[in-house]
Structures are given as structure tokens and as C-alpha cells.
């Protein structure tokens, strides 16, 4: 997938109470304020629950405008900026992007905006309610850095990893500790396909949460990664977590030269290898499945095909869910940042709504392509008592390839 570069230089200048807001930034806010179609509002999974316009792309840009014109204070408005999942749907539906972004070479970048406002506010001495929960999570990940080599290979215990790092599996701390079944089964599928790969062992803190707290620190880890990829001769980076994938495709090129490194999402990589080698999974898994498009693929990168196509390779398996364009309005509720840690209850309600839509299709399994979606839906299912089990696409494919593993969900096949 080619790297997508979309960058506004004036975002680099930190906001501070001590100085006026840069006029370039103010014009940016006007572009959204002046629209008033509010397409961004109606596509937003958060607004869908809170029904508060201040929690929308329109609201965020208008807040900036209010602060710049002295009719509002960021201290009073900052809470609004926490009500964003960083899913990117509003960016796509905003006419400034959708109908003119390519023509004017200028688009709405709400996700960058909310991350910037949160970190600038905290750097300027401000506080964000419940941020201690986010900090705790980031501190845990910072703590992992000291032992990252062992930590990110532990999931592969007992699996033959025979290749070098020309093709490197990129597994972050979350996936290595809480979503282990995904890399574990993916690695076994690759072995069955005769694909050689190595494991990249020093991902650093990759969590997008860090972009809302300290982008310099995030850039430090990312910069070390890029230097390591080049030093280790990585040519193809195969990414397990779509949150990392979206960062690699959309954030890394803002700061680093990614030339010579191809970044591929795991479902895309397996699909390509299956096609190259003419392999079809031998075991049929008869069934109809819901499928949740992760917003990181579906709206941030706009590349939703490969998980669906991979499911299509499994004999007997059929997705009966609505197409990707209709899923822009869905998020699992976790969010691509600190959202679930800040707004546990609303995150739950967003997830419940999504899972109920799957239940209404009359299926008992919702396929996902993101370890965070699986984590969130597992919680939501339990709390809400909804009869729909989240299963990762890789689990389904592994099963169809005849790979059994203890955490493979018993509900499939």
C-alpha cells in the first residue's frame, strides 16, 4: 500500500494561552464552521450516542474559532475534545474532503486536530478528566520497552520462525500481550504457505494514545523504528494491528522517509501469498458471518477489501453484513486512541449498538480484523448478553487451513 501523505504545517506550532492562535489555523476552523451541512455530525459514532454537537468535527473546529476570537476558553471547552474516537469518518464525509479535497489539495483533518488540541492543552499546564487511566496504559507500554525483545517474541513460542527480516512481522505490545492469537495463528498460516519471515522485536511504544499526549515521544519511537528497519534490511513490513497499520501508512510519512519499505496489512499479505501459490484453504467452514470493518482500515486508510476477500477464500464462509461504505458510521467503541479509557460507558453503548446490528442479521459470529475490536466486543458481549461472538478473520482462516489452537473460538466451524 503506498504511503498517504496529508500534513498541515501549522499544526506543529503548539497552542498556548500566552499567544494568539495562528491565523492559518483560524482559517482552517472557518472552513468547517462555514460549511454547516453537518455531514460530519451524522456519520460520527460518538455523536450517534451523545447527540451533542460540540462532540463533532463541526464542534471541534467551532470551538477553536471561539477561542481565537476570545468568546471561549480552551479550559472550558477541552472536555469536548475527548469525545472523539479518532475513527476518521467525519473527515471523509466532510465536503471539504469528500467533494473538494483532491481538487483543492486541502482536506479536513479532524483526527490530527483533536490529538493536537489534547497534547497542546496538557503541555500548557491544562488537565484532561480521567487522563490518569490513559497515562497508566502508556506507562505500562513505556515499561515494556526495556524487555521488548523477549516480550514481542514470546507469543511465537513453539512456532518455527525460519526467515530473516527482509519480510518482518510487526507486532506491537498490545497484540503481543493481549491479542496473542492473531500473530500466533498468522505465523502458522504463513508457515503452511511456505512463506519465510522474521519477527521485528523492538516496536517501542506505538499506541496512538501517545499522539494525544506527547508527539515528540511518539516520533522518537517511530524514528527509531524507521532507522532499525533500514539497518536490518526490512523490505516488507507485515502489520498485525490495524491501528499500527494506519499509523505506518498515514503518520510515518509525515516525518520519515519510508522509501524502500513496503508496509502490508496481515490479511492483505496472506491473501496475496495464497493467490501467488494457488492455495485455497482446504477445510470448509459453512456459515454466515457478520463482519465489522475496522475504522482504521475502512475510513483512515480506505482499504477495506483484504479481510473481506480473505474470508471469501474460505469455502462455505459468507459475510452477510452491510458494505464498507455503510460501516463508516460504525466503530466498535474502543476508538483509535484513548476514548474507551476516558468514556467507558459511551464506548460500551457504541459497541452495544454495533453488536446489536450484527445480532439483527441473525448470525452468531461477528468477524473482526483488529485485536482492539475483538477485545472491546468481547467485553460488550458479556455485559450486554448479546449472542454474537467476536472472532478474528485470522482465526477463521487458520481453522480453514487446518490449524488448531486452544484459543481458536469454539463457535466457528
Amino acid at each position: 500500500m503506498p504511503y498517504q501523505l496529508s500534513k498541515k504545517d501549522f499544526y506543529a506550532e503548539p497552542l498556548s494561552k500566552a499567544k494568539p492562535i495562528d491565523e492559518e489555523f483560524v482559517k482552517e476552523a472557518y472552513l468547517v464552521f462555514a460549511c454547516r451541512h453537518k455531514f460530519c455530525r451524522d456519520i460520527c459514532p460518538n455523536f450517534d450516542i451523545t447527540r451533542n454537537e460540540a462532540h463533532s468535527s463541526y464542534g471541534f473546529h467551532t470551538s477553536i474559532l471561539a477561542v481565537s476570537r476570545g468568546v471561549g476558553q480552551l479550559d472550558e471547552l477541552i472536555d469536548n475534545f475527548t469525545y472523539c474516537l479518532e475513527c476518521g469518518a467525519c473527515e471523509l464525509r466532510c465536503p471539504n474532503t469528500c467533494m473538494g479535497g483532491d481538487f483543492y489539495r486541502r482536506s479536513t483533518t479532524t483526527v490530527d486536530l483533536v490529538r493536537k488540541i489534547r497534547r497542546d492543552h496538557m503541555a500548557d499546564g491544562g488537565e484532561i478528566k480521567n487522563w490518569s487511566a490513559v497515562k497508566e496504559y502508556l506507562d505500562e507500554h513505556r515499561g515494556f520497552v526495556a524487555t521488548q525483545g523477549d516480550l514481542v517474541t514470546k507469543w511465537a513460542e513453539g512456532i518455527k520462525v525460519a526467515g530473516d527480516l527482509k519480510t518482518a512481522l510487526f507486532v506491537d505490545f498490545f497484540t503481543a500481550t493481549q491479542g496473542t492469537e492473531v500473530p500466533r495463528l498468522a505465523a502458522q498460516v504463513l508457515n503452511k504457505l511456505g512463506v519465510k519471515y522474521g519477527i521485528y522485536t523492538t516496536p517501542g511504544v506505538t499506541a496512538p494514545e501517545l499522539l494525544s499526549e506527547n508527539d515528540d515521544e511518539w516520533k522518537k519511537y517511530a524514528g527509531e523504528n524507521v532507522a532499525n528497519f533500514k539497518k536490518l534490511g526490512v523490505q516488507t513490513l507485515v502489520v498485525m494491528n490495524p491501528h499500527d497499520y494506519a499509523l505506518l501508512i498515514r503518520e510515518y510519512p509525515k516525518w520519515f522517509d519510508m522509501d524502500g519499505i513496503e508496509t502490508v496489512f496481515i490479511t492483505d499479505f496472506i491473501l496475496k501469498k495464497m493467490k501467488e501459490k494457488g492455495v485455497t484453504p482446504p477445510k470448509a467452514i459453512e456459515g454466515k458471518f457478520a463482519y465489522h470493518d475496522p475504522c482504521t482500515l475502512n475510513t483512515l486508510v480506505v482499504e477495506a477489501e483484504s479481510p473481506r476477500d480473505l474470508v471469501g477464500m474460505v469455502p462455505g464462509a459468507e459475510i452477510v453484513d452491510v458494505p464498507p461504505g455503510n460501516q463508516w458510521r460504525y466503530c466498535c467503541g474502543n476508538g483509535n486512541g484513548p476514548y474507551r479509557k476516558l468514556h467507558e460507558d459511551i464506548a460500551y453503548r457504541i459497541g452495544q449498538k454495533r453488536l446489536r446490528a450484527a445480532a439483527d442479521l441473525g448470525v452468531d459470529t461477528i468477524l473482526v480484523a483488529c485485536p482492539h475490536c475483538k477485545d472491546q466486543f468481547t467485553d460488550v458481549k458479556q455485559k450486554a448478553g448479546l449472542p454474537v461472538e467476536p472472532v478474528h478473520v485470522i482465526e477463521l482462516v487458520a481453522k480453514a487451513m487446518g490449524i488448531e489452537w486452544e484459543t481458536t473460538s469454539p463457535t466457528i466451524g
Binding site: P2, Y3, S107
Partner: protein
Amino acid sequence: MAEEIIYKYGHIEILPTRMQEYIKQQEMNEAERERIVKARNIHLDWYHRHFAYEVLKPPAEEWEPKA
């Protein structure tokens, strides 16, 4: 609105000199522009599926990009 345009990689773009004073262009590469075009088509497909009995195309001579 009549706007001065250029053709680039099969898509139309505003003449960049028209975007240097009030509203400026951002850094954007071809992949990002392709992403926007793709998303627009996804959105329009959805729109048409839901709200249109028929979608009319412009006359053939205005349909294909010129470069």
C-alpha cells in the same frame, strides 16, 4: 463556478497558483488524493443506492478526463 484547472494523474486539480494567498494547500501526495477519490466514489455509490432510481452521466465528450 468557472475555475482555472490543471489535469494531473487523470484527475482535475485547481491551478495551484490560485491557492497561495487566502486558503493555502496542504502537503498531500498522490496516494492521499487517490484515497479521497476512492472514498468519494464509495460515498456516491451508497448515496445512489439509497436515493436514486437512475444516475445520469454527463455527455460523453465531458466524461473522460483530458490528460
